[in-house]
């Protein structure tokens, strides 16, 4: 029964991926990509990886989907077609052959690896030392906190990189307005956004809070927060900030900075990114809250794009 469900799920994942990749119309492609992301989320759920499922649906399908839709509409507004490039037949054939061969090899390699949660006992053995119950949060925020710290800087760096693309005259204007053009839609979205932003805030806080013991955490919480910000912005409930706004700057760096500071405090007393006995949970939750907030702001602005000259928009 489970096997059948999983088999069907996998076939659907592959099918939606195929459509998303090769369908001629790009809007259809995006739609299928979002479905694909959600199916992946289901797959993660089926594997019992609820943390990843949340992240995949929120970030992998959600944020990426929004990014693709927004970019598509920007390009269309500029009169650019996003056709399914007429690659030469021999190129297609060659690529298909090469990729099939590669896939076969990869599949063989995958098949010869025995699945197993061999590290789970190790993680479980260490969890009491940090006083959390969610082992994924344990790995992310303690055992491999270094990865997560650097990753938070990758996210911050991505926003800086996006900002660097601003046209010379546009700095430091806010990004292209996300406000909807159609008044009726704006009205609906506006009320929706006003309603949803507080809900998103609460939900994000909840996700971070449960993250220490059950599935959830800073990244998932941050994404929900970003979603709330974006919806509110689309409905005109909030305006997007100028990129040189000092409050915005502090909001962006707060998470990574607190993380780094607590890591360095650990170094002062013993080891970089080590939490003194008994304080682990409190410190991790602190980091996660601030980080979730910063991630929310960062993701929302990443979706909004670089500063733009007033009057340009989708």
């Amino acid at each position: 029964m489970t096997a059948t469900f999983e088999l069907i799920l996998c076939v659907m994942i592959l099918g939606t991926a195929c459509v998303a990749l090769f369908v001629r119309d790009f809007l259809t492609a995006i739609a299928f990509f979002v479905v694909f992301g959600n199916l992946l989320g289901l797959a993660w759920l089926a594997m019992g990886a609820v943390n990843v499922a949340l992240a995949e649906i929120a970030i992998g399908a959600g944020v990426t989907g929004v990014l693709l839709v927004l970019t598509r509409s920007r390009l269309l507004a500029l009169g650019e077609e996003i056709a399914c490039g007429p690659a030469r037949p021999w190129l297609r054939l060659g690529a298909a052959a090469a990729c099939s061969a590669f896939t076969t090899l990869l599949a063989a390699a995958v098949l010869s690896i025995a699945p197993g949660d061999d590290l789970a006992p190790v993680v479980d053995g260490l969890m009491p030392r940090i006083g959390l119950d969610n082992p994924v949060t344990g790995v992310l925020m303690a055992f491999r906190a270094y990865d997560t710290l650097l990753e938070s800087f990758v996210l911050l760096g991505a926003l800086v990189a996006v900002w660097s693309l601003a046209p010379p005259a546009a700095w430091p204007q806010p990004p292209v307005a996300l406000r909807m053009a159609d008044p009726a839609a704006l009205n609906v979205a506006g009320s929706f956004g006003r309603l949803l932003l507080p809900v998103a805030l609460v939900m994000a806080a909840y996700l971070v809070w449960v993250g220490s013991d059950r599935p959830g955490g800073a990244f998932q919480g941050g994404t929900v927060l970003a979603g709330g910000f974006l919806l509110a912005a689309m409905g005109g409930a909030i305006g997007l900030p100028r990129s040189d706004d000092p409050r915005l700057r502090w909001a962006l760096v707060a998470g990574p900075l607190v993380f780094l500071a607590i890591g360095l405090a650990g170094a002062a007393t013993g080891r970089f990114l080590a939490y003194p006995d008994g304080t682990a949970k409190a410190l991790i939750v602190t980091i996660e809250y601030v980080l979730a907030f910063s991630i929310g702001v960062t993701l929302a602005l990443l979706v909004a794009g670089p500063p733009a000259r007033a009057g340009t928009g989708p």
Binding site: L106, S112, A142, D147, L150, P167, D244, L252, L273, P307
Partner: protein, 485 residues
């Protein structure tokens, strides 16, 4: 506190500071420069074998940081590059007349992000952690490349993205197969089976794309040539090296026991072709920065030409040292050359080699910096580049390998051909062209870097000793190694 942490934490802290400081971000280099140079020096003088686990979480779960020879050579050189580039860029990426631009704001945080990412990459032994550091560096690199040409930047971005994903695919296979992604543990656990070989192949392919080894170099010249001079310097000098260092860690540490000699020869052969192709292309260029960019393609070839020479050496410590010395001196010399080229081209408001006529008179210091860098790049004595090529040629001849030896010799001569061409133009003419006077502070940056590249030529023994600190068994000492099994 340990420099192993601080070398990563400090640049990230400066990144945050630069972001918050906004317009004033460029001033931070006055603090960051001394701090980072001091930390690098501290790293060099650490007792051999210093390593620690982040947060004291044990392997296989945790992440090991280590001060090995690679880090002890590359971290200080990287710091020197960043400090010099920052001093040069201090003027270029400054808000002008109150109208701050996006670049003046964003260049500085990205510089620190790249700095932290490079250091993190050199210091860690964890392959997944390396993936994150690659992306830290790539992100900043792509944005800097896009400052010159968006199209080239986008091409670079897509290629780099696929390269990192190939690497990540390998990491995923290894993590599932061995339940660890730590290079030191993999060195013990790895077996020559299908998943492992597949992982090595895709990781290597991905990293070669990012390192731009011929024939995967296509994206490099347009991206490196179009970017503003400080960005070009960082891209060619620093960014490329990270992928290469990871390859060293994979091929000579994690999988030293299972990589076959034929694979070493394949990489060596690609390196040889890169040297010849890159040099010939460099000779054919009319634009100075493209010449310098193709020179990078050629110079990267030497790094890979060394692979079979290390693997087959009686005493692998020497070619191992050679390849690291080459990486370091190329780093310094190439950054110097891009900065000097940037100064000269800016002064004459052109981009062609023929525009340099008479500059030896008008801008003697810039031309000197370019010339010193050229000496090191062409492998002429006395310079770090010479020391590296000398040791490599020595190894090739000792092993009776004619092809690498011939390529080393021919590559050096071709290098002289393309590097002396712009110098020759700079020495031509009898009247000094009317150009803006040299800004002493900005000239100091390329001059200092080029002088360092030359000075390395006098420190051969020190460099060899440093390179052998905590070296993996496959490349350590004069013990008869049995590679390829």
């Amino acid at each position: 506190m340990s420099p192993l942490d601080l070398l990563v934490a400090a640049p990230l802290a400066f990144m945050v500071a630069a972001l918050v400081a906004g317009q004033g971000g460029r001033w931070l280099i006055l603090a960051a420069g001394p701090v980072m140079l001091a930390l690098s020096a501290w790293l060099v003088v650490l007792p051999p074998g210093v390593a620690h686990l982040v947060g004291d979480w044990d392997l296989p779960l945790g992440i090991l940081l280590r001060a090995d020879g690679v880090a002890r050579l590359l971290v200080p050189a990287t710091s020197a590059c960043f400090v010099a580039v920052a001093l040069y860029a201090w003027h270029e990426f400054s808000p002008k007349a109150g109208a701050e631009t996006a670049r003046a704001h964003t260049f500085w945080p990205m510089l620190y992000l790249m700095w932290g990412g490079s250091n993190a990459g050199y210091l860690t032994t964890d392959l997944f952690n390396l993936y994150v550091t690659i992306e830290m560096v790539s992100l900043a690199a792509v944005a800097m490349a896009a400052m010159g040409s968006l199209a080239a930047g986008l091409q670079y971005f897509l290629i780099a993205l696929v390269g990192s994903l190939a690497y990540l695919l390998g990491v995923a296979l290894l993590a599932s197969h061995y339940d660890t992604v730590d290079a030191t543990l993999l060195a013990v656990r790895a077996r020559p089976d299908l998943p492992t070989l597949m992982a090595i192949t895709v990781m290597t392919a991905g990293l070669l794309v990012k390192t731009a080894l011929f024939p995967l170099h296509g994206w490099l010249p347009p991206a490196h040539a179009a970017a503003p001079a400080p960005a070009s310097a960082l891209l060619s000098a620093v960014v490329i090296k990270l992928g290469f260092v990871i390859l060293l860690r994979l091929w000579f540490e994690a999988f030293a026991e299972i990589i076959r000699p034929a694979a070493m020869d394949l990489l060596g052969g690609m390196g040889a072709l890169a040297i010849l192709y890159g040099s010939v292309q460099a000779i054919r260029q009319e634009r100075l920065k493209l010449l310098v960019a193709y020179s990078t393609v050629a110079q990267l070839g030497y790094l890979f030409l060394a692979f079979p020479l290390i693997a087959n050496a009686q005493n692998p410590a020497e070619p191992w040292a050679a390849v690291l010395v080459h990486a370091v001196s190329h780093m310094l010399a190439k950054a110097a050359m891009f900065l000097a080229a940037g100064l000269m081209l800016k002064a004459v408001a052109g981009d062609r080699i023929s525009d340099l006529a008479g500059l030896a008179r008008a801008m003697p210091l810039s031309v000197t910096a370019f010339a010193l860098a050229a000496i090191s790049l062409a492998g002429l004595p006395p310079s770090g580049g010479f020391t590296a090529k000398f040791l490599l040629l020595h190894a090739a001849i000792e092993q009776g390998r004619v092809v690498p030896a011939a390529v080393l010799v021919i590559g050096g001569l071709l290098g002289a051909v393309y590097l002396f061409r712009p110098l020759s133009v700079a020495f031509s003419g009898s009247a000094a062209p009317a150009v803006r006077a040299e800004a002493p502070l900005r000239v100091a940056a390329p001059l200092a870097l080029a002088s360092l590249a030359i000075a390395l030529g006098f420190a051969g023994m020190t460099l060899i000793e440093l390179s052998s600190v905590a070296a993996p068994p496959a490349v350590a000492g004069p013990v008869q190694a049995e590679p390829g099994r």
